[in-house]
Symmetry: C2
Subunit: 242 residues, 2 copies
């Protein structure tokens, strides 16, 4: 049975980490909210499904994934599940935990990237928190972003099975999520990110390799891949880069 | 063999979620950085161990847990592991995932609580970002905090096995983490939190019950429990409450 992914229909956002895993797995899935409203899609349906689909295990927010009877919220929990189902994480417990630990660290970086344009409140427009955003973005570019990317580089460098993958000798959702993080940073902070990536050549090479994987390459060219835009997590505001 | 917990020695912080699980499990553990420097404790040792203990699987930041050969970073990954080892999460996969999903949502709330006093940068003092902090704290108190607590209340209400626990009919790390979140909020935002808890009686009752569990009660009275203070995640600045 096909998976159902429920996420905002007009942005990559956190849902994109799930989409990439589903695409790499070659899994059949329906990106529900992107369907026409007449077929149960749209944002109103998304919010309705959020509380209706699983009254006993209600997700706190999109994305959530429906896999038969299971309704799973939280991007990292969804990836834990998909990693098991599709061999996108090692089958042994330490390997699975390590992959998950990397995902959780990437998720932390994603929150911080988001908060560069919304440091005060998700309920306010960017324009209404721009002063704080300028300061937070500067701190992110100069301190936090390099710290996260350097850590990923160090992990790649230390992988006993080589630097072609973050975990072990094959693709895991950690590779896909690192790719998506870097893609997002490149969109939002093109100057700062290219500068940071000069110091993390293994990570830059990994991202290029992920983009070249046949299923990912096909996905990126397809209409299923939503373009980055200023409603998502990674937003390009020239004044926040530097 | 005893666990080793590595975390900042003077705050509850994220390490506290791990401490509570270890205490409830009755597990033997060493809170390494709290040992005297002569015995390998202190902050300098903590940062040294962060990169030295596991060059292949380096944690990004404290807390990290050493369990024999395993070195695990990220609070939620540590709890996933301890949950399995000590029956602090259901043994079945859907139950384990659900418990983890709750933990990840609580972890999101913890980040947002932290950012009320540090909305711009962890590298600046509170006093240097106080203006932004006042705004972010107001948004957190009036919008985000109630949203998180209401969700936990709804989950408790919907638990088919009753509202005494968040997951199933027994204690899990989700109960312990919810307790710690509420304790922290009560410390940081006493007025706003009591107001929110009036609308979440099941959650308030759960927190009281967790505090009464024999091992947790003994821990809370012991010197192992560090008092809340203004270096931690939950800080009391009167101007941020209301």
């Amino acid at each position: 049975m096909a998976y159902e992914l429920h996420y905002w229909p007009t942005i990559q956002g956190r849902g994109e980490f799930v989409r990439l895993a589903l695409e790499e797995a070659g899994a059949e899935y329906r990106d529900v909210a992107r369907d026409p409203e007449a077929s149960g899609g749209g944002e109103a349906a998304l919010m309705r499904d959020l509380s209706r689909l699983s009254p006993v295990h209600p997700p706190f927010a999109p994305p959530f994934l429906v896999d038969g009877d299971l309704v799973i919220g939280q991007t990292s929990a969804i990836l834990l599940h998909l990693g098991r189902r599709h061999g996108l994480s090692p089958a042994d417990e330490p390997g699975e935990l390590w992959t998950h630990q990397i995902q959780l660290t990437i998720a932390d970086a994603v929150v911080e990237a988001h908060d560069t344009h919304h440091p005060i409140s998700v309920n306010l427009y960017y324009e209404d928190q721009k002063e704080a955003a300028l300061k937070r973005a500067e701190d992110f570019r100069t301190s936090r972003m390099p710290k996260f990317l350097d850590w990923l580089e160090r992990v790649l460098e230390g992988n006993p099975q080589g630097s072609h993958h973050i975990v072990g000798g094959g693709v895991t959702y950690a590779d896909l999520s690192a790719f998506q993080l870097v893609e997002g940073l490149r969109y939002a902070f093109p100057k700062a990110t290219e500068r940071a990536l000069e110091k993390t050549p293994r990570l830059a090479a990994l991202c290029a390799a992920v983009a070249d994987r046949p299923r990912i390459a096909a996905y990126l060219k397809s209409p299923r891949r939503i373009a980055f835009n200023e409603d998502g997590i990674f937003r390009r505001y020239e004044e926040l880069d530097g």
